[in-house]
């Protein structure tokens, strides 16, 4: 291949930079001074930060939309929709949309019919013929398609880390690009938020089923996590797995996914975050030009189901071909409630480092566990959630022994937690705020998280200060209020091979 055909290659030239000239002293002050935030007329929030020595930027588009916004019928829709956003639009990923559209309509009609008939009876005599027709239509449509157009275009212009994620609370779309490609990014992203085409839907739905088999159905730790949340939440939609249930994914309706897109991907729930080398005034003008075109739409109905008080311990056992595993969780309020911050400090006291209480006592000294970690805010943080502990018992010790040992250590913590321990935790939180500044991507994710979920990116700057207020008494009170048997759920993954198949 001739070099003249290349997009201008990277070449080395002799230049020096002096990064030490503008040393950052305090992460919070730096962010407050340098972050540019603006709300567009249609309600989209834009967060920009010019930084770094490389002409690159990290881009994140996030929606306050996740699996918590689904119901039993649509469980998995947010995640499947996230996959579908990579399939293109009426102008991206197709060579002739006018012709393709006719086939797409027929595919949708046949696909919906197959689903309906299969739900009634998988033995329906019409199914084989309909499935053949669907395959024929998919083949015909493929002639008009540029497969995975977003990946193709972004990879060619130097994009790295093209990805998306769906959580209970939020859906995000990420990429890092040379800063010179910002306009291409703005055009590509705004297009898929306005003119999405749900092409290759049924093939992608199959891939999601494969993803579920990989992350959940073939892994004991994946299965117990899913079961745990379904036990801990009996009413609130946090009980649904993000990916959907194995039974619901094969019947997720394309119409339901389309409706989810129209109703939920709205400007008022959207945050655009760009961190990296840029002229923020020019970036803002560019973002307004492309994303300002997205029309405002009404707020969807809120989540109304609330989790009732637990009123007694819940406990379950999961048998699977896997080494044992233990999950314990207690209900508690979500950020920015003060008690959430208290629980965050408790999580650090218990598992934040090798000297933390549980690691030191159970991994290093008593040797009952191989690993223990905590998640303050499982499985989501828009609504009241669970403080969860994940632990691996170390043979010959059982999950039950480990569970008892954990409670004993937690009782000790709530009895004798010291000021010195709190200082250690505050140091750790302060450090993490600084370490988070190291990459464009990490910083974009943090700013986007607080803005999207709580409508205020400055929490990222305030967080260490907020946690400094927490006292020993706060820890003890939280212990008495939340970390009690009647408020907990316990799941034990038991090795199905250990029983030798005996009943």
């Amino acid at each position: 291949m001739k070099k003249a055909m290349m997009v201008p290659a990277l070449v080395f030239i002799a230049l020096l930079a002096s990064p030490g000239d503008a040393a950052i002293r305090d992460a919070g002050v730096y962010l407050k001074k340098n972050v540019v935030a603006k709300k567009l007329k249609n309600g989209i929030t834009v967060i920009l930060l010019n930084r770094g020595f490389a002409p690159v930027c990290a881009f994140e588009i996030a929606f306050r939309v996740g699996s918590v916004d689904e119901n039993y019928r649509t469980a998995g829709a947010a995640h499947l929709l996230e996959h579908m956003l990579f399939k293109g639009t009426d102008t991206i990923g197709t060579t002739d949309y006018a012709k393709e559209r006719v086939i797409q309509s027929r595919i949708e009609a046949v696909g919906e019919t197959i689903d309906r008939l299969k739900l009634e009876s998988p033995k329906n005599a019409r199914l084989p013929e309909l499935e053949k027709e669907l395959a024929r239509l998919q083949e015909a449509q493929s002639k008009f398609l540029t497969a995975e157009p977003y990946d193709r275009i972004y990879s060619e212009i130097g994009g790295v880390g093209l990805n998306a994620s769906t959580s209970r609370d939020k859906t995000g779309y990420y990429i890092e690009l040379p800063a010179s490609q910002m306009e291409t990014w703005a055009k590509m992203e705004s297009e898929r938020l306005m003119n999405l085409v749900l092409r290759e839907y049924y093939l992608e739905r199959s891939n999601v089923l494969q993803e579920r088999l990989m992350h959940y159905d073939s892994l004991g730790t994946g299965l117990i996590y899913e079961r745990f949340m379904a036990e801990a939440f009996i009413a609130h939609p946090y009980r649904h797995p993000i990916i959907g249930w194995r039974s619901t994914i094969p019947f997720l309706s394309i119409e339901d996914v389309r409706a989810f897109y129209r109703e939920r991907y709205i400007p008022s729930r959207m945050t655009i975050t760009i961190v990296g080398m840029q002229d923020t005034a020019k970036t803002l003008a560019l973002v307004e030009k492309y994303f300002g075109r997205i029309e405002q739409r009404p707020e969807p109905p809120p989540v109304t189901a609330m989790e009732p008080p637990q009123m007694g311990e819940r406990r379950f056992i999961l048998d699977f071909e896997s080494n044992p595993y233990l999950v314990i969780g207690w209900h508690k309020p979500a950020f920015p409630a003060y008690d959430d911050l208290v629980c965050e400090v408790i999580s650090e006291l218990l598992t934040g480092g090798m000297s933390a209480r549980l690691n030191r006592a159970l991994v290093v000294e008593k040797k009952i566990a191989s690993s223990i970690s905590a998640w303050n805010g499982a499985p989501g943080a828009r609504y009241d959630n669970v403080f969860a502990l994940f632990a691996t018992p170390r043979p010959p010790h059982t999950a039950e022994e480990l569970e008892r040992a954990i409670y004993a250590e937690m009782d000790r913590l709530f009895a004798d937690v010291s000021e010195a321990e709190l200082v250690k935790v505050i140091n750790s939180i302060e450090s993490e705020t600084v370490f988070d500044l190291e990459t464009n991507k990490g910083l974009a994710r943090t700013l986007s998280y607080y803005q999207t979920l709580y409508g205020d990116w400055t929490y990222a700057a305030q967080y260490p200060e907020m946690t400094r207020r927490i006292t020993v008494q706060d820890i003890k009170k939280a212990g008495a209020r939340y970390f009690i048997p009647g408020n907990r759920t316990v799941g034990v993954l038991r090795d199905s091979r250990a029983a030798g198949g005996a009943r």
């Binding site: 997009v7 080395f12 930079a17 770094g52 995975e148 130097g158 600084v434």
Partner: protein, 456 residues
């Protein structure tokens, strides 16, 4: 024994990249120094009020054989628990956590890394810790026993993950349980004596076998002084290097080319892995193979394997091919995870698309796409101080020419269809090792494609 090349690094240190945007990338200069005991120091001055120190000793799984499998991980775990003479066990952990630092000792393929990251005000303490760990590890029986139990449990739990099983088994068969194929066992790890672990550490944490990367908000003279004070007392020792028997691996691949190694696991999804030995990092054809792999399965959703298995057929979520070149060896692996009933079909798609690389010239459009992607994303190898340092340390470890990154893109851009086909033939003509982990229901389909050998 390997000797580090004398690098003419100032050429790169005083350079900047010009991105496709035309905007200049003003790289912070990388300053280097050699200590009297042979330690190579690489330093970047950063703007953040933090200090990161990474001490890298040449040792890891590539250095292991059947008699030492798991040694690197055990050694790292033992010192992680035991700390050093000055910072023993819980004293070390208390100290790191009180500073709010991040700390780890990890064994990789070619390096054992001691890493610490703290706020700038704790830089002296951080350097003291790393230096004392390297020179005076507190390797005692109690910590080694605990480390053995933890490593043994991690080996057991690896067998909960079908992908881990498939990759490890494939590498073990290709490399005969040595280097890339090192396969630690619980019994093996438990058999290593304290003296042997101590000796392994002593041998590899020696000046000529160590590189230190550091970035911090202080000038280089000060950083160099701090490092000289702490690390100069380490003995010089000798640079170590692992053996690599390419012919043995090629023979193993050739003798298993018609076999399918099957590991039964009662789960609804199969993991299918195919692979072979790849050349080392200095191999002249590595650039062609890199472009080939990008097109085959490394280039995300637009790669052939992803298109054929996931996009067009909806058969798998995870599909990829990996090509890794190291100092003395390399490996190629391609894999997909699919429902048990489609394991046979996916295996045929993997081998069929690999076969196409050897039989048909890759169309120019695909080559241009891969070259543009590699060119235009190149800047991301230099977008953080850590990435810059890592690249410098890679050049030093692999004894690559100082202009490696300067000429890298020219070499990628010079790759053509003929070279891709020639290199693919060389790579794949000995055959491919195949490993499938899944439910026994897949066996009849596998038997149609080769002799099934059940692994225990």
């Amino acid at each position: 024994m390997k000797r580090y090349a004398l690098l003419v690094l100032m050429l790169i240190a005083a350079s900047a990249l010009q991105g496709s945007a035309g905007a200049d990338l003003k790289l912070p200069p990388v300053r280097t120094a050699a200590l009297t005991n042979g330690i190579k120091l690489f330093y970047v001055q950063d703007e953040l009020p933090q200090v990161t120190v990474v001490l890298s000793a040449g040792y890891g799984r590539m250095y292991e054989d059947r008699e030492s499998a798991g040694m690197a991980e055990l050694m790292a775990q033992a010192v992680s628990l035991g700390g050093s003479k000055r910072f023993p066990g819980t004293v070390l952990h208390e100290k790191v956590d009180a500073m709010g630092g991040r700390f780890s000792i990890e064994a990789g393929w070619e390096h054992v890394l001691i890493s610490i990251k703290v706020l700038d005000r704790f830089r002296d303490e951080a350097l003291d810790i790393v230096a004392d760990l390297a020179a005076n590890p507190n390797m005692e029986e109690q910590y080694l026993d605990n480390a053995k139990a933890l490593v043994a449990d991690s080996i057991r739990r690896k067998y909960d993950d079908p992908a881990e099983i498939a990759f490890e088994r494939a590498r073990a068969i290709i490399f005969g349980g040595e280097g890339y194929g090192s396969t630690p066992t619980e019994a093996g790890v438990r058999s290593y004596s304290l003296e042997r672990v101590r000796e392994t550490w002593r041998k590899h944490f020696a000046g000529r076998n160590i590189m230190i990367g550091m970035y911090a908000p202080l000038g280089f003279p000060e950083a160099e002084r701090l490092c000289r004070e702490r690390f100069a007392p380490l003995p010089a020792g000798a640079a170590a290097m692992y053996p690599a028997d390419r012919k043995k691996a090629l023979d193993a691949v050739a003798s298993s080319r018609n076999k399918i190694f099957f590991y039964p696991k009662d789960i609804p999804q199969s993991t299918v892995v195919v692979g072979t030995i790849a050349p080392d990092i200095k191999y002249a054809g590595a650039y062609s193979l890199e472009v080939m792999n990008y097109i085959l399965g490394g280039g995300s959703f637009s790669s052939r394997l992803m298109q054929e298995i996931r996009v067009k057929r909806g058969l798998a979520y995870a599909v990829q091919s990996i090509m890794r070149f190291r100092y003395r060896s390399g490996v190629f692996l391609a894999f997909a995870q699919t429902e048990n009933k489609s394991a046979g079909e996916v295996l045929s798609l993997l081998t069929g698309n690999i076969g196409r690389m050897t039989a048909e010239p890759v169309p120019a459009a695909e080559i241009v796409w891969a070259q543009r992607a590699i060119n235009n994303s190149f800047v991301f190898q230099f977008d953080t101080p850590l990435n810059i340092l890592s690249n410098y340390m890679e050049i030093a470890y692999n004894e690559l020419p100082a202009d490696y990154y300067i000429s890298y893109l020219d070499r990628i851009n010079a790759v053509d269809a003929g070279e891709i086909m020639r290199e693919s033939r060389d790579l794949f003509s000995p055959g491919l090792i195949t490993v499938v982990v899944g439910n026994e229901s897949v066996v009849p389909e596998l038997r149609k494609r080769g002799e099934v050998v059940v692994l225990k």
